[in-house]
């Protein structure tokens, strides 16, 4: 299969070099830059809002647009991290530790330059890894049957549940709620209506786009509207250009390579994402540094470590998405929905039947990263203006976009109503610290998990041990069990640290 995929690389480049496709990649990069740079809005929000538009575009244009948002959105969170000490997304929190001190030393331009070039290198190398690893994983996944797909779904849900939010129990509840929402409509095996309460509109179930838009975008909009009065504009550091000292990359070449590999590996693990990648990479870089005392005071090496890992997640997260149908992070969870909207079901059969998909994704990633580099270097002087976009205008406009997008997918006013109701429900749940990614992933994976669960039981004559007796399924469930133990142990450790800190604070008081 690997040779088949390689043979499609040249033709995929010709497909992607279409002016329309390049235009959509560029527009996606601009959208990703704006959304990623504004604290509170992220690449995830942008992809959720604009996914409905991709429904109406050809495949390479749709994915060019989304990947443009993905790559640029992950990078641009470093802009407020450096200029305002406020990361645009959780994945850029580590960037603020080095980038902001650099800005305070009058090196804001250098920091922005280091950030953009590191992101470019990390993102491009991960695209090459996608080309090599995805077909190999897809070949292995051809051996998967119903028990394996069920187990893989459980692994993906557990990973997202564990990483999103502070409590794995709430994460698991979130995934359960998401699966529950996906059960509304016709039973996929028997064809009987389920939880429709005799409503014709619910016979087709809850549509994907209104659910995505409602659960991701609307709660975020309401949270930002709630903070509008408290938001004070920070002082933005001034700079003249965003070019780094290239000597810094040569001095930090091993850090750059290590961080890229860390981001790639973490991106491949389902449900994890750039936040963990950038922190692990930063911690490792500091541990291995010749001058660790420079970290926290404007270390170029530290900044390179964070940003290269952050963006190398992009290619890594697409690997399990395309080859197994399991998203590597929250953003690819939404992209899974976008692929399904285009009529493609990610997984090993996607690679078997559409070899060119991997090559198209490779080139779209490479071109997106190139556009990201160009915009980051040439457009740097506009960054302070992006940070001043008034939320009072932007948030209501996002609501209008959500409404139009939800209607556009099925020409249905019912979808708009579902979107806003799920949005309000999502806001209330978020106030109880129930994160949205597990709910959305549960909603997306529910139609994969349930039929495979039932098929596996039917095939094994109602013997639930089939999930543990099939070797690959047992291996995946064992991995899921280990992840669960690791996450619970981490949660307990954080609770203990928090409790000790509270006790110390009370004792001091």
């Amino acid at each position: 299969m690997f040779s088949h995929v390689l043979s499609t690389v040249p033709s995929a480049l010709m497909t992607v070099l279409d002016p329309g496709t390049l235009g959509w990649v560029f527009i996606g990069a601009i959208v990703g830059l704006v959304f990623g740079a504004i604290p509170g809005l992220t690449a995830l929000t942008a992809i959720a809002i604009f996914t409905p538009i991709t429904f109406l575009l050809p495949l390479q244009d749709a994915f060019g647009f989304l990947i443009g948002i993905y790559c640029c959105g992950f990078y641009s969170g470093s802009i407020p991290a450096i200029l305002l000490k406020t990361p645009g997304a959780p994945g850029n929190a580590a960037t603020a530790l080095e980038g902001y001190p650099m800005a305070c030393q009058g090196r804001a331009g250098e920091a922005l330059g280091l950030s953009i070039f590191s992101s470019y290198i990390g993102g491009t190398l991960s695209a090459i890894a996608l080309l090599i690893i995805a077909p190999l994983l897809g070949t292995f996944a051809l051996k998967f049957g119903a028990p394996e797909y069920f187990s893989l779904g459980i692994l993906g849900l557990l990973c997202v549940a564990g990483i999103s939010g502070k409590s794995i129990l709430k994460g698991i509840i979130g995934t359960g709620l998401g699966i529950m929402i996906s059960l509304i409509g016709m039973d996929p095996i028997n064809g009987t209506p389920r939880f429709t309460f005799d409503t014709v509109n619910l016979m087709g179930g809850i549509a994907l786009i209104p659910a995505l838009v409602g659960l991701f975008a609307i709660p975020e909009v309401l949270i930002q509207i709630g903070k509008i009065k408290q938001q004070a504009q920070g002082e933005v550091s001034k700079f003249s250009s965003a070019l780094p000292k290239f000597r810094a990359f040569i001095d930090a070449k091993w850090t750059l390579l290590r961080s890229t590999l860390i981001g790639l590996f973490i991106g491949i693990l389902p449900g994890i994402g750039p936040t963990i990648a950038s922190w692990v990479s930063y911690t490792e870089a500091k541990r291995a540094a010749k001058k660790p005392e420079e970290y926290g005071n404007g270390s170029a090496e530290g900044l390179i470590a964070c940003e290269s890992a952050n963006n190398s997640v992009t290619g890594g997260a697409l690997i399990p998405l395309l080859s197994l149908g399991i998203p590597g992070d929250s953003v690819t969870a939404v992209m899974l929905g976008a692929l399904m909207i285009q009529g493609l079901t990610p997984g090993p059969m996607l690679i078997v039947e559409h070899f060119d998909i991997i090559s198209i994704m490779l080139w779209l990633l490479v071109i997106s990263n190139l556009f990201m580099l160009m915009i980051g270097v040439l457009g740097a002087k506009t960054f302070p203006y992006i940070l001043k976009v008034p939320m009072k205008i932007l948030m209501p406009v996002i609501v209008v976009l959500c409404v139009a997008g939800s209607f556009a997918s099925n020409n249905s006013l019912f979808d708009v109503e579902v979107m806003i109701i799920l949005g309000l429900l999502g806001y209330i749940l978020s106030q109880f610290e129930l994160a949205m990614p597990p709910i959305v992933l549960g909603f997306i994976l529910g139609p994969i998990i349930e039929p495979n669960f039932r098929r596996a039981l039917v095939g094994s004559h109602s013997n639930p041990a089939v999930f543990f007796t099939e070797p690959i399924s047992a291996g995946i469930l064992a991995l899921a069990g280990l992840m669960l133990l690791f996450i619970i142990k981490n949660n307990l450790k954080e609770d203990n640290v928090g409790r000790k800190k509270n006790e110390e604070d009370s004792a001091e008081a």
């Binding site: 538009i53 095996i189 939880f195 205008i393 609501v399 209607f407 979107m419 806003i420 106030q431 039917v458």
Partner: protein
């Protein structure tokens, strides 16, 4: 009130996680009862109600765990403050906007929604209350209808 209800019930009402856990448990119970009415079929012994039943039992168990976690915690987590005026008004306006979309159409309802919410959020200049809502609504309408070929109401 405390002499009427047991302490445990009052504790559920005082901790955020306990309240959420109770809501999840009641929701799971509701789903379980509805699932019982979904019978089996000739296609498969595992009918339409089988998986929802399994899921509702698992979810109900998680809800009980959450209630217990909230109850066992020494320092109760406060209930979230859902009385933020800006959020409540924005939510009501958004709901009205969605339900007026059909009768009034996309352009008019969007113009009214944007003008109203800009005014509520404190924007008072004529360009914010008239020019922006009209421009944005017509611009988005043009984009969806002419560029993406989507019919909006």
């Amino acid at each position: 009130m405390s002499h009427i209800y047991p302490k445990e019930v009052l504790f559920v009402g005082k901790d955020r996680d306990s309240v959420l856990g109770l809501a999840i448990f009641l929701f799971s119970l509701f789903v379980f009862i509805i699932s019982l009415q979904q019978g089996g079929s000739s296609v498969s012994q595992f009918g339409a109600g089988f998986f929802p039943m399994v899921l509702s039992v698992a979810l109900g168990f998680c809800g009980l765990l959450l209630i217990w976690a909230g109850h066992a915690r020494k320092e109760k987590l406060p209930l979230p403050n859902l009385k933020n005026k800006e959020i409540i008004v924005a939510s009501v306006m958004s709901l009205l906007y969605c339900f007026l979309l059909g009768p009034l159409g996309f352009c008019i309802s969007s113009i009214l929604f944007l003008a109203a919410i800009f005014f509520f959020l404190g924007l008072r200049k004529i360009q914010h209350l008239l020019v922006l809502p009209v421009g944005l609504s017509l611009g988005l309408y043009w984009f969806f209808v002419s560029v993406l070929h989507v019919a909006l109401p």
